[in-house]
Symmetry: C2
Subunit: 236 residues, 2 copies
């Protein structure tokens, strides 16, 4: 039963940690060149593939910079990366323990406004569905959603009435794996947004915008407004 304590194999996690700690203790300073994979695999007593995976992941994480022939260096200006999870509103609310409530505010079919044509490349001849709805956490307004959906991209959307299912959830089930651009900003509540979020006009709101395409085909653009209390926290 008692295993040989020294029998541990060197895994890529150990290699990663070792490299990181050498950077932390300044063995390898910013911008400095690391030994090649072959050399390191000898030092660590493992296969080159193991070192390769370790260094590849560290490069992915923004710690190292790798170039063929040039070698691997510690990144100079550690551009920080933060990763955020953007869950479905209902799940987000329910995860907090509160009851989720949804209400459709408006649903209309229009020709795409100019800004939408410019923003997403929607064809001016196409029609779009404009939906506004509210998401509540218990009895408190949680999010006001203002969304545009390209009918040409998702014809079935004309049959969806969004009275009981939010457009986001409907789309998630209908359009798998679309590509998205997301941005965050702060803004003053417009009269309309203030009314739905139960704020005064001009009070700060947190705004998330999301535009999605499926292979260059514009699907939807959404602007989601949250009251001041909302906080977006990095995962990982």
């Amino acid at each position: 039963m008692s295993e040989n304590a020294s029998a541990e194999r060197t895994g890529f996690r150990e290699v990663k940690e070792d490299i990181v700690s050498r950077i932390k203790n300044r063995t390898w300073g910013p911008g400095e060149l690391l030994p090649g994979e072959v050399e390191l695999s000898r030092q660590f007593g493992c296969a080159r593939a193991t070192v390769n995976r370790a260094m590849r992941e560290l490069a992915e994480e923004g710690v190292l910079e790798r170039k063929r022939k040039a070698g691997t260096r510690v990144v100079q200006n550690p551009v920080r990366h933060a990763r955020f999870e953007i869950p479905i509103v209902r799940h987000e609310v329910e995860a907090s323990g509160a009851e989720y409530r949804y209400a459709l505010v408006k649903r209309e079919v229009l020709t795409p406004p100019d800004w939408l044509q410019a923003r997403m490349g929607v064809n001016s001849a196409d029609r779009v569905i404009h939906v506004q709805c509210m998401h509540y956490s218990g009895n408190s307004p949680y999010q006001f959603e203002d969304r545009w959906i390209n009918i040409a991209a998702v014809p079935k959307v004309e049959q969806a009435d969004f009275t009981s299912t939010s457009p986001n959830e409907w789309l998630v089930n209908e359009v798998p794996l679309s590509k998205a651009e997301i941005s965050f900003s702060a803004s003053s509540a417009s009269d309309e947004v203030a009314r739905f979020l139960e704020l005064k006009s001009g009070e700060p709101v947190f705004v998330a915008e999301r535009a999605t395409w499926l292979e260059e085909l514009p699907i939807t653009y959404a602007r989601m407004s949250f009251p001041e209390s909302y906080r977006l926290v990095s995962s990982l």
Copy 2:
């Protein structure tokens, strides 16, 4: 010379794309079980390691869910992930083509306030440096930075005066690879923030908060306020 045109090997990128397209065209619906790695490697005519890397990365990206013995499934509720780059302010401003200007507003040594002890686990007996400074893009206020630094974690900070280098840049060079928690929110400008950002009190500001530790040791907490015009856009 002329290579056999059909000699293309199946790489992990091709495997990834193929899997993704099969999900897009509903060959594999949400929650559905995919064939095992061995089976897929036969279908694709490549080694299992290649399929493994493809599926591992897709799992990393949130497209697939993998469990030993249970197999690999298409993710049910595609929790969207967004990745953001948090650059050094100076670089961010200079990248926009504007001239960067920096000004120290305040620098003082204090005992850590209660909220900071609670937030970061700073020892109440330790001392902290409190720094406030402004970052300008051309002549426009770009960011107001309010930062606390744990002297016990970075003793050299007592010698830094921050009159010409911003605390962020100083720290980046002094403390490599610290772990950070980042959050974003919207807030009303306090009198102080409004004064520095040249806004009216109560106007919306975009707030980024960052807390960093080095191996459980609290290093610094910073609250950065941006005027309404600021927009954080997802990379990747």
